[in-house]
Every structure is written in structure tokens, then in C-alpha cells.
Symmetry: D2
Subunit: 344 residues, 4 copies
Amino acid sequence: MIAARLHHYHEPLRLDELDEPTITDPHDVIVRIGGAGLCRTDLHIQEGQWAEKSGVQLPYTLGHENAGWVHEIGSAVSNVVVGDTVIVHPLVTCGLCRACRAGDDVHCENNRFPGISTDGGFAHFLKTSARSVVKLAPDLHPRDIAALADAGLTAYHAVKKAASILHPGSRAVVIGAGGLGHIGIQVLQALTPAEIIVIDPSEQARALAGEIGADRTVAADGRQVDTVLELTDGRGAEAIIDFVGEGDAVAQGVAMLRDAGSYYVIGYGGRVDVPTIEIISREINFIGNLVGSYNDLAELMTLTAQGKVTLHTSTYPLEAVNDAMADLDQGRLQGRGILVADPV
Amino acid sequence: MIAARLHHYHEPLRLDELDEPTITDPHDVIVRIGGAGLCRTDLHIQEGQWAEKSGVQLPYTLGHENAGWVHEIGSAVSNVVVGDTVIVHPLVTCGLCRACRAGDDVHCENNRFPGISTDGGFAHFLKTSARSVVKLAPDLHPRDIAALADAGLTAYHAVKKAASILHPGSRAVVIGAGGLGHIGIQVLQALTPAEIIVIDPSEQARALAGEIGADRTVAADGRQVDTVLELTDGRGAEAIIDFVGEGDAVAQGVAMLRDAGSYYVIGYGGRVDVPTIEIISREINFIGNLVGSYNDLAELMTLTAQGKVTLHTSTYPLEAVNDAMADLDQGRLQGRGILVADPV
Amino acid sequence: MIAARLHHYHEPLRLDELDEPTITDPHDVIVRIGGAGLCRTDLHIQEGQWAEKSGVQLPYTLGHENAGWVHEIGSAVSNVVVGDTVIVHPLVTCGLCRACRAGDDVHCENNRFPGISTDGGFAHFLKTSARSVVKLAPDLHPRDIAALADAGLTAYHAVKKAASILHPGSRAVVIGAGGLGHIGIQVLQALTPAEIIVIDPSEQARALAGEIGADRTVAADGRQVDTVLELTDGRGAEAIIDFVGEGDAVAQGVAMLRDAGSYYVIGYGGRVDVPTIEIISREINFIGNLVGSYNDLAELMTLTAQGKVTLHTSTYPLEAVNDAMADLDQGRLQGRGILVADPV
Amino acid sequence: MIAARLHHYHEPLRLDELDEPTITDPHDVIVRIGGAGLCRTDLHIQEGQWAEKSGVQLPYTLGHENAGWVHEIGSAVSNVVVGDTVIVHPLVTCGLCRACRAGDDVHCENNRFPGISTDGGFAHFLKTSARSVVKLAPDLHPRDIAALADAGLTAYHAVKKAASILHPGSRAVVIGAGGLGHIGIQVLQALTPAEIIVIDPSEQARALAGEIGADRTVAADGRQVDTVLELTDGRGAEAIIDFVGEGDAVAQGVAMLRDAGSYYVIGYGGRVDVPTIEIISREINFIGNLVGSYNDLAELMTLTAQGKVTLHTSTYPLEAVNDAMADLDQGRLQGRGILVADPV
């Protein structure tokens, strides 16, 4: 099969011819990839930002946002059969550690993260596990929902945490209405009664935000802190949901946060740098957010099936992966980019 | 009456002769002070750290940790009578805003904070409100429990938040076993089944910590991060409860924090400065903590009455306030310093 | 002024000429009634069901669901001024007990309940307290939202509890789409992503339910348990929200409840009668629900202002109170009945 | 091997000679039983109370409270090795359904319950699954902790739920200080700051309760409701934890429950039968409790290892199972009865 692999940091991916993965553990599931989402994290990996954290050995196959059809299963797999349409939870988890048993798959003590720490889905086939596949209606096409596996799941997870503090009359500020943000807006709309204020520099992104649930959109024009304070009685918003996490975003987001409110960190690249006296005198919180759990993914797929969440995507052939990455890097990519491999 | 007042930042307090406060609102309560706790925040106020945040006009009377006896009450006061022994919740709150009505007194939209933003309790008398006095058993002496009004209440509030994530088998690291920390340890012991690990540079403080509930004590000897990791299977603690909040404490605390864990910021003076990639990849949280609610104070007084929390204090006459502040500043003060005014 | 008063159980109310209430406490607020909702509880009071629980002395004025304009205020009232349009939280609370301070107004240790335990709002004027009035936009007419003060608030309170267990993919069964139920459906729609299944014997009520947010409506035709099980994969619903609470409703509701689910009791008149072996082997919960808190009422008024909750009402002159009660009793009243007194 | 099996309802168990269980699924774990707890549920099974609910076919082996040593493992088992000392979570669960993935093992959609719905541990060997074994320190003897697998786990689970409403100053009433109750008292003591009031007819049980953490003990002498009300300012307790669930216990427990409080149903045999008007006007809750989760069991084993929970047991040879059941039925059994099979 063909796989798009990173051989050296700071270089384009190479399209390698590899053997198909094979079943080696009774829980293995091999998925024929129907769509693989492209993520800003793929750029960060290419730049080496994750080299130390992931400990991965080059070369390896990127792609951590996958959907497809079950191609082969191990002897202990009981929840899917060959041919099922599935979306793939990004982590492979053990099911036996405390975290897995508490519903917190992402902190599995024995996890692997295909596309981050081992071979991922920019390929014809992906090896994952029975615990990582969510069965879907057969009429869904993987390329249309693949981006929910990571971008959507991360946005869902963060918004679900925020929902617990968002009562009628409260406000949520969404910083960044791109790949994750536009899903986050829809999930806020589905799960909470909060007023939704969206900040983005792109007029097009703000227009989309307005269509999918934003009550207010604010240009990132240098006056956005003042604007948000005006929209919130001078007090700021109960929740800041930051899909950017770099540049000025954090400092501005903190300035828009209401006392006793919570700041949800999702985007990354910059720093949270705040005096402790400000944290305690305002009694504000910073909440880290990684990808969601398997049940989160199943819930998000329910919202999608109900039409409450829809994705905006652009499709590329797998072979055009480096073009797609360049488009993402240079802001030319509308919605989420999806790589589609030809059938074998 | 005599009151210890700040006339200029960076200068000692002056002992002024002032008129006693009088009832001007139907909810007013005037308390004859029996004990007023001295707090590191008083030093910070003197240094001007709170000048901008509090907006207070100099001169004014410090002292935000007060207990005494009810001296006079306004016409609408129904919960105490003259002569009652009371501990004084540090804030004067309205009871009508959303925060007050949600049990979150501290974020009252109309609050005053005697000793921070208006005249406090380093004096013979303090004016507060019906909503701020907790009635105590008459045999308690105010000087013995005054420090619970702020130091104790802040520690209680933070530990109560942490309690929700501290299951049997989890660990809480307490950074700093001083005035607040030694109460925090006792509250952890009373409210949670967690293993308690205490870090302090002072051998004496560690010895006290061991007596009042710490399962492990660790010297702040430069190896404390490694030591805590060794004590926690290399993974760190579920909760870091930081009563220091300055110097190396935060960076070290973050290094001791388990993935998916929470860092409770109580001490202040330094910064939380962490890359967003670390916050999201480890999915860690930073939780700000100010003083607790009125109900928190009542609960803490219950623990005290049950013998589960005891205070270690050193008493000074009100007139020796500047000596007491110097002792606190230079680390000579054992336990919490309490100022006691002579009876009128 | 005119007031509709109960002189003897099981007899119609009498229209008495009474003195207007006067300010006797600094927190008193006198409201000129613009609309007073009629509630099934008024029928239950007339039948003597509340005689023992409320301990009220006859005669007294009914009416616990009130809105109007501030007419006069006591000296300690700071949150409203004469002329403000207000909705009246049904209880008068102290603001000082643990329950009030925890945001749980309804369990105030010193509460009075106008219309239940003291004179209510079937009159030109009502005496309440500063803590019980929620200020509204001046263009709202009290008669249009009075029913939210109790019927709406009770439905809101119960649904808000249920919201915490209602994730995407879960189901809520609403039993009874009448005065409370039709508000409950709208609140479910606003606060949760659950699929909403509504059971009612009336075709008209089911049609309304469908218009305001029910995903499915089910006739109470004797087959409703089977129908709900068919709609829920044979497992039942995560939440049963029972606005009936008498007759067969409870037994049927329990049969529709999923294992590990919760049954919200709101309507009353019958019994919960379930073997303990069923409660433990299915691990099901029964959650009592009284009227909501002041903050709940403010949140509900926000949803109303946002157009997410609308009321269906029928208006009667105050003088026609006994006709209105007869219409309610005999099922002729469409929506919630509202009594409107002429201006004095 | 020998197994104690139920051939006919209402008859003694028979000691049958059976083949040892064998590995048939890659996740199977065969445990050599070191101790099997005897439970009141075993009497209820014998009486046919569970016949319909469990759907089990007679004859089968009883025993759902098991600990021992790993004897043989399937090919996919990675968390234990042969020879490990283990306690056995009572259910065999799939790990793949929503409940399992939410940490709620007990409501696994594909569960089996050895000793209830399939062959249990009153035998030399038990077949369970990798997901059901908690590894213990090798120096623990299974007979000393086997009763924690079900009795202890059920008590732990209920108390953990109650802990969330038990603040300092609150009261928990424990009804019944027998096999489950005496563990519940110790868990209350370990997890909560509540005052613990224990009701039991047996003077010996009350004496034990006092030694292990009860603040007050009350004889079940007909005056217990009045006594509890006297101990709780006439208002009742925030939590009633009912390990009896039959006879007068429920009616009395409801009379001891504070308004807005919660009643935890654990014991069974009787009914919860309460008017809906009482449930709503007092806003009280009834919370069903089955056995706890795997993580609950691990937490309970931690408390045991820390010396915070200790068991009181009486040991019988497996062959004396019917004597043990008679002793339990007739109140002659002190502590929890444990059956110990001879080594093969």
C-alpha cells in the first residue's frame, strides 16, 4: 500500500510503498481508510514540536484523524465485523488501567497514538484496536466525517467541560472559528443555552460562524477585548474557549474572562503566562483540553446524525498530501482538509 | 479607639486614635475585636502590591482576619445579638446579586473587603454586616480562632475544591506548611482519603506537618521534584496545593503534577508561566483560589469545634503590630500571628 | 383592595374587601399585581391537601404565581425602585441560613410562602421581600409571564437537574404536557441535547408538544409503556420527568425508566410505591422537585427574553376566580390560567 | 472439584463433584478460590427472589464474593499472571459498551454475574475475566478480604455517592450495622467529615459500630425516629444509608430524613412507599445502589491496605455451606461468613 511518511523533520512527507499491516494481537482491527483529516498538529509534527513528547522514531506515517471500513479483525474482536463503516478514536487504549476504567481513555497508561507515536492513517490501511472503532450507519461516507475523529472530538470535549458552567444568561467566547472552532460553535449551540461570541480575523470565518450558531461575531481588529467587555456588561465572559493558544490570543482571552470564570486551552504554540496574584484575586481557572473519550466521540457522532453538527471540508488525494499541508500552513485551506486514498 | 493604619506604602503602620464606627445601615454589625490575624497579604499591601486592585485611599486600617464580640447591631439584624461571640467573614456582601444567591459570596458584585478596600480589624472595633458574622460557642476566645477567618478559610476553600478529585489511592502535594498550609493539611485529612505529601524548607514546619496529618514530608532541598515523582510511581500527584505561588514553587509544582491533574494556586507573588502545548498535551488544570464562602467558614468552624483543625498562633498586643509584621517578614513568626487589642 | 380568599376548605373562594398591605419590615416590597397564575395546587389547597403541611389559618388569600409592578419599598431595599416591573419568586426567604447561602432558597429555614402559608397574590396587592423580586424589562406585561413564577420555575428546576444526565443520544420522557409540562419541554430543548418523548392523553396537548420541541409524542392509550420501550431500544429512557404524579403515571413511568436512570417527581397526588429489590437491582433513583431558586427564576426569564420559552395562557378577571378554578378542575382551561385584577 | 450448587429453590445446596472450568475465551481468568463470602442475597436466591430477575437455570454454583489466586489465564490477558493474589469484581463485563466505557461496569450491557446468573465461587475454582480481577499484595490472604468483593463494594459505592452531600456539620444515619453496615461506617469515616449515627437492634453490633467510627449509636427500640430527630435539631439527617430495606426500616428512615436530603437504598426485601406530595414538598431523593465499579473496588482495597477498613469475619469450610447459611439466616453469624475450600 501507499503511505505518506515523515522521514526527516522540516521536510515534506514521502509517499512510500509499504506492506499492509497484519493482525498480531487478538484485539487488532485493520481499517481501510476512507478519509484522513489533516490537522495543524501534522504541521507541528513536521516542525519537530512533538519529537520529544511523542518519542517516535522516524520514518513513520502521519494521520491521526481517520475513518473507513473494517478490513480485518483479530480473534477477540466482538463489536465490529468486516465491512462495517467506522470512525476511529485516535488513541489505542488498554481498557484495564484506572483511567480507561474511569471513562478517561485519553490518559490510558498504556496508550498508543497512531499518527503521533506510531503509524497513522495517511495510508490505504491503518491498524487500530477493537476499543477504538465507533460503528456508523453504512450510508455515511468516511471522508465526510473523518475530521470529527480528532478536530471534532477535541472541540466537543472542551465544550462539554465548559457546558457545566454555562447557564442561561452566561456567555462563551470562542477564539478562532477555523477547523476546530467551527465545530465548537455548533456543539456549544447543541449543548448549552449560553450566548456565543466568536472572534476571528477572517471575515469569511465570521460569516460562517454566524450561520452555524454564533450570537455575535467580533473581528480580531485590536479592539476585541474592549468589544467583548462591552458585550458582557464590562465583566467578561464566564468561559473563554481558545482554539488558537498562541500569539496574543491568551493575553487577550484572559482580559475577556470574567472573575470566577474558566479559560479552556485547546490551541497551542504560545504560553499561558499570568501573575499568580491575578489568578487568585480574580479566582480564575485554566483548563487543559486534549482529545475526548470514546463516549465523547459516540456522542458527537449522534449530534452529527441529528444534523446538529456539520463539517466543512476540502478533499485532496492522498498523493497530494504535501500540497494540502502547504495550503493549511498558508491559510488557503477552507474548512478541514481530508485526504482520500484510492481503493487498493 | 486605637487603630493601626497604613498612611504611606513602604512605611510602618501608625497607631491612630479614631472615633468608634457607628451604625449607618440597618444591616450593620459592630464587632469588638478579640483577635485579628496578621497575614502575608498585609505585607503585600504595605508594599503596594494591592494598591491598584483594591483602589483603596490611604490612610486606612488594615486587618482582614477578625473575630470578637457583637457590640452593636442595626435595625434589620436578626441573626446575632449584642454579646455574641463571632468570627467575621472577610467580605461584606449584598445577598442580592447572582453570586451571593449562588453561594459564592466572594464574587458579590457589590462587596467591600474590610482590611483590603476599607477599614479593617487592627483596631478596637470593626464595622461589618449581618451577612458576615458566624456565631460561635460563647466559650471560644476570638484570639484562638481569628486566623480561621481568612488564612483558614482560604485553605479550606482550596482543599474543598481539591477534595472532589482525591479518591483513595490519590496523592495531594502541599507546597508550604506555614500559616495557611498547616490548616490545609488538617482539612485534607478531615475531608479526603488522599495520601498527603508536604514540602517545606523548614525542618520545624515539616515536623509539625507530620504531627497534624502529613503522610510524607519532603525537604525543599532542590531534589523535591524527583522525590515526589519517586513517591508517586513516576507519575506525579493528582493535586498540587500551592500555598507559596512564587519563586521556583510553581515550576516545581507543575513538574510534580500528574497528567490530567489540577494545580491549586493559593500563594501568590510569582507567575504561572507554562507553554500551552504542555497544558493541552498533559491536559492539566490551574485553579485559582480566593477566600471561601460564608458556608465554607461555618464548615471550618465545625471542624474546629470537632477538634479536627487546630491553630498554631503567636499573640502580639495591637500596639506591637509593626514588630509582628517584621517577625512575619523575616520568618521569625511561629504559626499565625494574632493581634490582641486591650479592652476599651 | 379586593382579594380572593379561602374561608372554608371545599368551598369557593370569596371576594373580600381588605386593607392594602403596608411596609412593616425594612426589606418589604409591595407589588401591585399585574397577573396571578392559577395552579392545580390552588385546587389541592381548596380540597385541604395542604392544610396540615402549610399550617395556614383560614381565611387567607390564595395565589403563589405573581408578577406586577413595585408599589412601595422598605428602607433597606436596594435592588428595585417603585415602578419596576417584577416577577415574584414564590418564597420569602431570610438570606442568612445555610440553605439561602447555598443558593437553595426553597429550603430557607425561615421561609414564608405567600399563597400557601400566608396571603398571596389573588388580590390587587401582594407583600413580598427584596430577596423575592426579579426585575424585568419594562415592556413586559406581568400577565404574560406570571405563570413562570411557579409553574415555569418548577419545570425549569426539575429539567435543570435532569440536564446533568442527558447527553447526546439519551432520551427524556415527559409525562404530561399541560401547564408545567409544556414549559418543561421547551426548557429541555434549550438546555439539553436529549431526544424528547412526550406522553399526554390529549391530542391537542400532543400537537402543541410537537410544535415546541418534542421529538416524539405518545398517546396515553394504555400501550404507552411498550411504545416508549420500542423508542428506546427496549431499555427505557435515562430520565422520566413526571408532571402528573398520580394515577397510573408513576407505575408506568418506572416501567419506562432505564437501568441507572432517574425519575423526577414533580406532579403529585399519588404514591411512589416500588419494591426495594427493584430500586437496587436496577439502581434507579427518584428525585423530588419543588419550586426552583431565585437564580433559576432569573435564568428562566433569560430564556423567555431570548424567545426560547413561550407561555400559553388564558386570562380571567380576578372576580372570575371561581370560574377559572372550575375550568381548570374540569379540563376546560387551555394553557395556564391567569387572573388579572383591575387597576385600583 | 467440589462446588456447592442450588438444585431446587427452597432446598439446601448440594456439594457436587464437577470438572474444573477451562479457558474458552482469550480474556478468561481461572481463579483458585481462597475465600468466598456468604451474603444475605444467597439466602434470597435460595428462596427464589432472584429467579425471575437473573433468569438462571438450576442447578448452578452460588458465591458472588470471591478472592483467590490466579490459576490459569487466556491468551489476551495482560494484567495478571498465574500465582497472583486477586480479589474478583463480581461482574464479568465487556469493556466495550457505553456503560463500561463510562466507568459504570455494573450496567455493562453484556454482563454476566457469577454466583447470580452463572456459576460462582462456592467451589475450588471460578472462571472470570481479565477485566474482573484486582491484583493484591501477595501477603494478603484471600479469606481475609473476600467479603470486600461484594458486601464491601456495595457499601463503598453507596457511601461514595453520599459523600458528595456530606459536608462538615452534616449527619449520616446508617440503618443496620451488620455485614455491609460495619464496612459502610468505616468508609463514611474515611471519606467524609459527617457525624455518623448508627441504628441497630443488636447491642453487640452497636458496640462494634462505636469502635469503628460511629459518633452516636441508637437502639432500634421503637423510639429511634424521635432520637434521631433530637440528635439533628429536629430536622433529620442529610443522608440516610439504609442497609436493611425491609420491615419498618424505610418508613422510619424517611421520617429521619432532612428536607432536601437523600435516602440511599441498599438493603432490600421491602418497599419504598411514599406519597408523591411528600417527595415534592420535602424535595427528598431516593437513590438506588447496586454493587460498585472496578475502580470502586480498587479504591476500597486501598483503604483496606491503609488500615482504614477492616473486616470482621467468621470462617467455615466449603463443605459446611448449609450450616453457614442457617447461621446467617438465624442471626448467629458474627461479621461476614467466609467459605474456605481445601486446596485441591
